[in-house]
């Protein structure tokens, strides 16, 4: 008994956010008077997949002691690039995907290298990057986005394998993979340690800069994957489809217990963080509450969860 108590006391598993997630689902089922089927919930999860994937990248950037404000425009950029390259022809899919993700790797590298080598604030560097990307795709499209995506590509967002949406399967698989990397590998441990203190990490002989750079590359590439999935939803090239994902991804990570100081947080928390945001949005829509109410309640939830996470951190001593 004692040991279970101890385990709970010292675990970094984010129980609080799962409780909130559960409450949210109950509220959802209750307010819709049980007219909602489980598949409806799966459908909500399906629409949450792009946010879920980009939020994992954001969590990694936060864990390493930074943040990435360029993930939203990266998603927008991927949408424009892959749609224009593929432009309805399934034969062009590999090229479109490769070009998109290649650009993401480049963006992550530039972010990471500038942050580590010039010792600049991640906030400013990634904000500047975000603006540069936006300028870049305006030049690329000349302001007129063109291109669309074929059915075979849209399968990753719209398709179902039996009762499971393909998008959710991709999301959960990526989650499982990254979770193992963060929890069970030497690299993951070093990432947490470097995030907690880059100075101590360097003193311990880590290649701390490399770890930070890799985290930004991961964040960018995950934003790229999220962008591909989002494009599969939208089906066409469209300006600024990813804009809202920057702040939502930070919100999801923070609701899930990831701290801004680095080294604290889990992907296990980010998952319900994402779901809470998306379920809340659906709930508000179903209840016919305006955007204003949506924003207010989302803001409130962020504030409450941050306070709760802080409290839990203090208690863990």
């Amino acid at each position: 008994m004692q040991s279970i108590k101890e385990k709970i006391r010292y675990t970094n598993f984010p129980f609080g956010v799962y409780v909130l997630f559960l409450v949210m689902i109950l509220a959802f089922l209750f307010s819709t008077n049980g007219t909602v089927s489980p598949s409806h919930l799966l459908n909500i999860a399906r629409s949450a997949a792009p946010l879920g994937i980009v939020a994992m990248g954001q969590t990694i950037a936060l864990l390493v002691g930074g943040l990435d404000l360029s993930v939203g425009t990266t998603m927008s950029m991927v949408n424009l690039v892959c749609a224009s390259i593929i432009s309805g022809d399934p034969g062009n899919i590999p090229l479109g995907v490769a070009a998109s993700l290649g650009l993401c790797v480049l963006i992550g590298l530039v972010n990471g290298v500038i942050i580590t080598k010039f010792k600049m604030q991640p906030f400013l560097v990634t904000m500047a990057m975000s603006i540069v990307i936006e300028g870049g795709y305006y030049i690329y499209t000349q302001g007129i986005p063109s291109g669309n995506l074929p059915e075979s590509f849209r399968f990753i967002a719209e398709g179902w394998w039996g009762i499971l949406p393909v998008a959710v399967v991709i999301w959960v698989c990526l989650w499982a993979l990254l979770s193992v990397v963060l929890r069970k590998t030497v690299y993951g441990r070093k990432l947490y340690f470097t995030g907690a203190s880059a100075k101590v990490a360097k003193m311990s002989g880590y290649h701390a800069d490399g770890i930070v750079i890799s985290a930004y590359v991961l964040a960018s590439v995950l934003a790229g994957v999220a962008g591909l999935m989002l494009s599969a939803y939208v089906g066409v090239a469209s300006m600024g489809v990813g804009t809202e994902y920057t702040l939502n991804s930070i919100a999801a990570a923070v609701i899930g217990g990831t701290a801004f100081v680095g080294g604290i947080g889990t992907l296990e928390g980010t998952f319900p963080g994402v779901m809470i945001i998306v379920v809340l949005q659906s709930l508000m829509t179903i209840l016919g509450i305006s955007n204003a109410g949506q924003y207010l309640s989302q803001g409130l939830i962020i504030a409450v969860m941050v306070a709760l996470n802080q409290y839990q951190m203090k208690k863990r001593r």
Binding site: Y192, M203, S204
Partner: protein, 508 residues
């Protein structure tokens, strides 16, 4: 002394956190003009007791009376208003503000609705002058040395004209001369009927300033007496709970001829010039001197944090180029930095994560960590260094200085080093942990590890080192065998440069 007026009386104070009793039934009486030394090992409850009487915590049981009336502080601010000032060991200064602004924080003089900056800095200057130090009050705190920060912190506490001043390890960042000024100041304020409480691990400090001593152990009261009826050995044995005669482990008897590390005419910019040192295998070489004579820079260059600008650095007779901690690790060098909080440990992570941080690879297979091996390594680390934790997943920031320092040692020893550079290894560490660290260092030398210890603690330098080098203005001003070293000899070398010695000889 006995009939002076009581300012504050803490009666039968107890404190528990979630069922853990950290302080049980301890009383303390602060009288006008008395200075109480509070001593005890880490986790003895010293800080808890101080926090109870200064409003940082509220007691679970017991009461606090001030001027005969029962009182309950809601916060340290309220206690401050009532005349209780606490000079914390952890500095609490605003780095981006001036010394003056920090000293007068919360008590700024106003001119209409605006701050009166001129008056503020004048007042701050006066506070510093009262204490007996000179620091330019217009300088930013971030530009100050650790000693100057400590003094600013003291001035900040004193500026509120407190009736009780609590000092937590006030001299840990001060050198001898600076400490002496502080002690003079304390003696002066005692005459002005201020009451002083001092937590210190340095017996010297206690005997120089205090007139009473209160010993705590494991959260309980052990001993209280006027200081003049005690002696150092008696206090230590009461504090540790057993007798011991010799603080320092025995020196090595046989001398190894093999030179492990050798520096030839090494320089680091202008802070270290022309230093030559030999470290025989399996010995402890101490580097002493006054604070700020280039010791810190030399230690950092040895570990590859800053480059040597001239000279040769040889290990096992071969020239080496060490440009980063990663290079140093390849040469089996370990380094205990002087500031464990910013460079030694990740405070927000657990004991477990910190102990394992250097040996992730050893406890993994194909990039994946092996939990069983890790558990074993952590368990061993905690046991070997006698680290006091109830659970290895505890956050390091919640441990005492002594336990934190042991974790730094544990983390580095896990790399199985052949060379160990220690920078102020026992700063802010309690007596019991100090002893354990000393014997650990000795044990390591027996297995062939070569140790270089940079310390400003004279007794530690003499007690621990097989050979001693003294630095002055970036140069080696003296070299003595440890067994022949005395405080006087080292002080002589500490105060004059080899250059002026040579010049003097030339003149003669």
């Amino acid at each position: 002394m006995k009939d002076t007026k009581t300012i504050l009386l803490g009666k039968n104070l107890s404190k528990e956190f979630n069922g853990n009793v950290v302080l049980e039934d301890v009383s303390i009486e602060c009288r006008e003009g008395s200075a109480i030394a509070i001593v005890g090992e880490n986790g003895a409850g010293k800080s808890t007791l101080m926090n109870l009487i200064s409003g940082g915590l509220s007691p679970s049981k017991g009461s606090i009376e001030m001027d005969g009336k029962e009182i309950r502080f809601k916060s340290p601010v309220e206690a401050g208003e009532k005349g209780i000032a606490f000079v914390h060991q952890e500095l609490s200064l605003m780095e981006e503000m001036t010394v003056g602004e920090n000293i007068m924080l919360g008590r700024e003089p106003k001119k209409g609705p605006f701050l009166d900056q001129k008056k503020l800095h004048r007042q701050a200057e006066k506070v510093l002058a009262d204490i007996g130090y000179e620091i330019d009050v217009n300088r930013m705190v971030c530009e100050l040395s650790p000693a100057q920060c400590q003094i600013t912190e003291i001035a900040k506490a004193w500026s509120s004209h407190p009736r009780i001043v609590i000092f937590d390890e006030p001299t840990s960042r001060l050198n001898k001369a600076e400490s002496r000024i502080l002690f003079d100041f304390i003696r002066r304020i005692l005459e002005e009927k201020v009451s002083v409480i001092m937590i210190s691990h340095r017996m010297d400090d206690i005997y120089q300033t205090c007139n009473e001593v209160l010993i705590l152990k494991d959260g309980r009261f052990v001993f209280h007496s006027p200081l003049d009826q005690t002696n150092e050995e008696m206090l230590i044995s009461k504090m540790v709970g057993r007798d011991f005669k010799n603080v320092y482990p025995e020196r090595r008897k046989t001398k190894d001829d093999k030179i492990k590390i050798s520096l030839r005419n090494a320089s680091v910019g202008s802070t270290v010039t022309d230093v030559s040192i030999d470290v025989p295998e399996g010995t402890v070489v101490g580097i002493g001197g006054l604070e700020g004579q280039g010791q810190r820079e030399l230690s950092r260059a040895l570990f590859g944090l800053t480059p040597f600008t001239a000279g040769d650095y040889m290990i096992d007779g071969k020239k080496v180029a060490i440009h980063s901690p990663a290079d140093a690790l390849k040469h089996k060098i370990a380094f205990v930095p002087e500031d464990r909080k910013s460079e030694g440990l990740c405070l927000d992570l657990s004991v477990r994560e910190n102990i394992l941080s250097m040996v992730l690879k050893d406890n993994s297979k194909a990039g994946f960590v092996e939990k069983k091996k890790e558990e074993k390594a952590v368990e061993e680390g905690i046991r070997e260094l006698n680290i006091k934790v109830s659970n290895p997943k505890m956050k390091v920031s919640n441990l005492s200085g002594g336990n934190q320092q042991k974790i730094v040692f544990s983390k580095w020893i896990k790399t199985k080093p052949e060379i160990l550079y220690l920078n102020e290894p026992t700063r802010g560490v309690d007596v019991q942990s100090k002893l354990e660290i000393y014997s650990l260092i000795r044990e390591l030398t027996k297995t062939g590890v070569s140790v270089v210890i940079f310390t400003s603690d004279m007794l530690e330098l003499i007690g621990l080192s097989d050979e001693i080098y003294v630095m002055y203005e970036g140069q080696i001003s003296g070299h003595i065998a440890g067994a022949e070293a005395t405080e006087e000899k080292i002080m002589q070398f500490s105060a004059k440069s080899p250059r002026s010695e040579a010049e003097r000889r030339k003149e003669a």
